[in-house]
Symmetry: C2
Subunit: 324 residues, 2 copies
């Protein structure tokens, strides 16, 4: 069967593509394991090609309904919908955020609905769907009252995917990602990007700015575990999800100071000295709307796995992504 990854040029899309190429199979719409004979990497810019002849790279606009209807065709058994304008990006450019994150999601679910079968759909939602009054201790039973446009658009995506799944038009699974650390590459427009920068840049010999206080707490998950979670979510049977096709992914609750201390334990004190602590009120304001504690009982029940420790998160980055 054909598998489509949207947002495939992003670091998670790239890691997922490599993992799927290596794995070579997924549960198909029939409920049986099927070989992946085509993997389509879709993004607004060309995704890097992993050098496998099953892979094709397609570029375009996720909100272009005609294009997405062609992308998600009758051969498509599964879609990983990762394409998204990230938090600060959607906050700065309101129209772009709604076009990509809302109209894009609609284009994807409507393309799935048009097929004669119900493709599996894995959607990356976010802890940014929580906020406001209900942001102190968050679990799967906390109301989603987001305080950013990004969180709003992700919450809408979850609602759409649940309804389309209920109707049998697709077989959806939404994963609320905690803060993914350590992202490889360059900083992006996610408000949380600093949580990666303060580890990645110092470990690569560069300085980094931390725009929030050391006592700020975040829920952390490594890219390695995140990609494992995408595949695990995909292959779970539909009935495991119950009447709500969404769950918080596992995260380790840790203060920024604990993350930095772990880097010190794993890689010595030199990288720690490369962090400059310089508060930024715009970032702090967004981060303050995120939950202080992140529960993931449903993910645990469904067999998702967190990293073993904050130290392991640092080691995963060094093994998987460090640019020496």
């Amino acid at each position: 069967m054909k598998v489509v990854i949207t947002g495939a040029a992003g670091f998670l899309g790239q890691k997922l593509a490599r993992a799927l190429v290596k794995r070579g199979h997924l549960i198909g719409p029939s409920g049986k394991d099927e070989p992946i004979d085509r993997l389509t990497l879709f993004d607004v810019v060309a995704a890097a090609h992993p050098g496998d002849n099953r892979v094709e790279v397609v570029t375009g606009d996720i909100s272009d309904r005609d294009l997405i209807a062609k992308l998600i065709d009758r051969d498509t058994g599964s879609v990983f919908h990762l394409a998204s304008i990230v938090s600060s990006g959607a906050e700065e450019d309101f129209d772009l955020g709604y076009r990509v994150n809302l109209q894009g999601a609609l284009a994807v679910v409507d393309a799935c609905r048009a097929l004669p079968h119900a493709p599996r759909l894995v959607f990356t939602s976010s802890l940014a769907t929580y906020g406001g009054e209900y942001n102190v201790e968050v679990d799967d039973g906390t109301p989603q009252t987001p305080q950013t446009s990004y969180g709003t658009q992700k919450a809408i995506g979850e609602l759409l995917i649940n309804d389309y799944s209920r109707k049998g038009f697709l077989d959806g699974r939404s994963l609320k990602l905690p803060t993914i650390v350590v992202r490889p590459g360059k900083p992006n427009k996610a408000a949380s990007t600093f949580a990666s920068s303060i580890i990645r840049e110092p470990l690569q010999g560069q300085s980094a700015i931390c725009p929030v206080a050391p006592e700020v707490s975040m829920a952390l998950l490594s890219p390695r575990r995140t990609v494992e979670a995408f595949i695990h979510a995909h292959d779970l049977p539909a009935q495991a999800w119950g009447p709500w096709r969404s769950c918080n992914l596992p995260g380790i609750d840790a203060k920024i100071s604990e993350l930095v201390a772990a880097m010190g334990r794993v890689a010595g004190n030199d990288p720690v000295k490369r962090i400059e602590w310089r508060p930024d009120s715009a970032i702090q304001k967004i981060v303050a709307t995120w939950p202080g504690r992140f529960g993931w009982a449903k993910a645990k029940r469904l067999g998702f796995k967190p990293d073993g420790s904050v130290d392991e998160i640092i080691r995963n980055f060094i093994e998987d992504d460090l640019q020496r």
Copy 2:
């Protein structure tokens, strides 16, 4: 200022129009009381004209973005967005439900956003936004995991209105309506329509079918109190709402048997005998996704008022709407 009611041909739209004509003023975008010098009644069919020269009747499609941008023009200080495909209707016709309830809501909020000021917007959401695992005891802090397309579309409307309000594009207030009883007129495609039919038809000398068991519990609010709530919600200051522009409206939790008993107390036993109890599995399935208990602490704090008793709900219908 100009006030727009969408869905103005519906019974709540009609009652609201008459109430606004009588009242003649509302708080404007400036925060000060302003006279209503124009009241535009918009619907897909022509709304009845209340015979006042400030009122104009406009017909069209709520999802027609150009039309809605003309409807909600620079003179518009307030919008009551009531237009909606109801629960069973949206369940039967998936495309129509999404077009009216989602694309229609987008047309309204984007028209508001295009204005140089932030109009007040009152939106009718529903207890159908709750459901699934979290439908037993529902209050303002219960997650919205709807199990119908209608509930999904209403939850999306709330998210949009909250985000557009947060950005200052409009000043929104979403009201989650319980079951409105007793609706005047004819049965509609709402799954809850029987709750009105079993009172209205017998009081008007006709027979009625009750498709659910007598022990089914619903949260009830009279049309009179609902229209009062629309105006109260509109005139509250923005800061009263806090970071989430939505609340459950007050309802009286009552079993169908209690509603019928109240009719017996108010109007005697003859109407009660005109009810035929004939279970309908499709209706029961939808009603089962609605909450068993409906909390409304935020509405109480904000000064919204329920009916005094189930008997009062029956008496309100007899006074306001009974067709003898």
